[in-house]
């Protein structure tokens, strides 16, 4: 179907708008994925500390940068201070902290799914415009 120059320009403008949205969504997705990776890493660390505590080990090393570590002893394995956002931090017992992180992880996974759905919609609209313009 032939389209007028005016219609073609309109479609190109729409296409560019969708492209900007796609880029913005991809940026958001990257941020959410990084947060999710951080969440996974915290869950693994807390779980490992919990196991170490169960084995009676309290010796550890803490990073001081550039791949260097100093010896440290963890005094209390039973409590974790969790940042709940907006500068608020709550001391929780290990299991509650793990449950909080698991909930956060699930929310982040849902967010990724929603972003993926929006992304698919925009990409579909872009393909439709491409087929009209080609």
């Amino acid at each position: 179907m032939a389209i007028s120059e005016q219609e073609a320009r309109q479609l190109v403008a729409e296409y560019q708008e969708y492209q900007r949205n796609v880029e913005a969504l991809q940026g958001q997705m990257e941020m959410v994925r990084n947060t999710l990776a951080g969440c996974d890493s915290s869950i693994s660390t807390i779980t490992a500390l919990k196991e170490a505590a169960a084995n009676g080990s309290s010796e550890s090393v803490i990073p001081v940068g550039s791949g260097c570590f100093v010896h440290a002893e963890i005094r209390d394995f039973s409590k974790v201070i969790v940042n709940v956002g907006s500068g608020a931090n709550i001391e929780k017992n290990v299991d509650d902290a793990l449950a909080f992180l698991a909930e956060r992880k699930s929310k982040l996974e849902n967010m990724i799914q929603e972003l993926n759905e929006s992304l698919a919609q925009f990409l579909q609209k872009m393909r439709e415009i491409e087929s009209v313009l080609n």
């Binding site: 005016q6 320009r9 403008a13 409590k79 201070i81 940042n83 709940v84 956002g85 907006s86 500068g87 608020a88 931090n89 709550i90 001391e91 909080f100």
Partner: protein, 122 residues
Amino acid sequence: MSSEFSPQVQNQIAQIQQVQQQAQTLAMQKSQIDVMIKETEMAVEELEKSADDAVVYKSVGELMIKSDKASLLTSLKERQESFSLRVQSIERQEERLNSRFKQLQEQLQSMIGTSGGGEDED
């Protein structure tokens, strides 16, 4: 922008583009504040679930300072209120920009209509 247009029309288009850019900046600011409002809501929710004598800390730069549930809640609610006021202010600015945009657009249409050069308007 096409050089076929008169300087007045070009100036009008430039003003419209400027208003559009301002609207985009405002929309971005609003979306950032919306994210912070959501984050604060979640923190309030989590704090309210904790025991009244829960051990809590407030982040201050790189430090965490021991606080108590009640004062941390008050501080978060003040934060929420301040964000809401900022959103309201942005919404008022958006309304003003929208009416300015419509006004400029109408003026542009009548300018193009008068000069009879309306086929090339983006």
